[in-house]
Amino acid sequence: MAMEVSMEEAAQAVQAGEEFERRPVPEEAQRGNKSFWGMYAGEHTAGTEFMIGPLFVAYGVAFGDLILGLLLGNLAAVLTWRYLTANIATRLRVTLYYKLEKICGRRLVTIYNLANGLLFCFLAGAMVTVSATAVGVPFPGVAMPALNDTMPTGFSWCLIVLVIGAVMTFVAMKGYGLVSKVGHLAAPWMFLIFVACGLVTLPKLESLEVAKILTGTPLGNNPKIGFWGVFFFAWFCNGAMHLGMSDLSILRFAKKPSAGWAPAAGMYLGHFVAWICAALLYSLQLQRYGEDASVAPGPMVFEAVGWAGLICVVIAGWTTANPTIYRAGLAFQGIMPKVSRTTTTLLAGLVCTVAGLFPAFAMKLLDFVGIYVLILAPVGAIIVVDVFLAKRLGLVSDPAEKFRSSFNVAALVAWIAPAAIGFWAVKHFAMPLPTYVTLPVYVLSGLLYIVLSKLWQAKAVA
């Protein structure tokens, strides 16, 4: 239950650096919009961008589809953050986990934490792979993973991944403050490295005709995607954060909902400029070496801009992976509260490092991100119903808290069933990417929660 806080208590809490994990953020701890712009810009100019841009090329995206799809898809993402996430965040001022606990009950939040933690580990593993492609460049014996590689490529590769994973895990166990700081410090420079990669690629291309830069032909066994594929991916790749309300934890500190415009910095610097520049890098590789060209970021960037680029790839992968390992450790600790954060972070790091050995997570990053969002985003629909519709529909808000339940069955079914239907639909209709079904799954989740809540709450009251 939210506690009323006196101004003096709030000021003391702010001074002590409290995170307000189980109560609304008081006015004294709230921040102006400016502080969010830099954070979002840095967060979305990262290791994943080195893979996603080239993967669009591998999935046969044509130039016009890429530009228009990214312009409009990123706009949709920003509007979602602004008018959905930021509105709820500044209204409630609590974390996603706290709000979920009040709606769904502690035991259901534990299941969410498990899913979240595991997915974080695999995402971090993909970033270990990205960093490894840079660390491996100076060592000629290291076989870089190719586009269709899913298994480790050799002993040297495994050794590099294990060393990187161990270092990242050790730093995460210490608390990720330093790495977060390095990430924020590196962000302006990293963005310029991305732009530099794009600029130096242009004169090396065989032709500046857009149809020859992005041919629109998918590679390997990848399906082809066009405008809608790019649009839906750009909109929903961060679906866990905006639709899924994970960014309640960040935007609850905003003074006004207009802070929800801040992700535009990340979307248009990272998910537009950086993705296009990274795509150009791979296009050049394909023109030079044909379909056997490596999509590994390290060698591509080294060829473009040298050692500065390698440093950028390492930092970009590291500054994405480290906080993710840390968050996975926290998520696991939510499931095993008696185990120390250090131990759970070690566990997360082990899972992440093993995942990093397998290039599958990096080479199939578009699919993995889609799966990630499909699993985590639906809980956001439950929160939307609880905040905006519950009263109008005669439902109790925060039902798990009100009925003292640790397990809201309606929420569980509304979360899992639509996601399962979504997975089935992607397979059955051979959709190129899971992000095609994110929105219908989200809406279905909300509708199902309304219907099931009517039944569950009537039973709970009786």
Binding site: L185, P188, W189, L199, A308
Partner: protein
Amino acid sequence: MKKPAFLVSMLALAATILPPVLFLAGQLEAAPMKGVMLASALIWFVAWPVANREES
């Protein structure tokens, strides 16, 4: 110390993007471009933290 460090870090950022622009314009070869970018990276990572150091 912070003001000079800020100036140096901004020069380092400029030295990160200017060489590729010159390369694109055909005014600079690849090897010196990469060398300047590496030097500017190292300068950035020294100067920017100093420029952003919080007053104790």
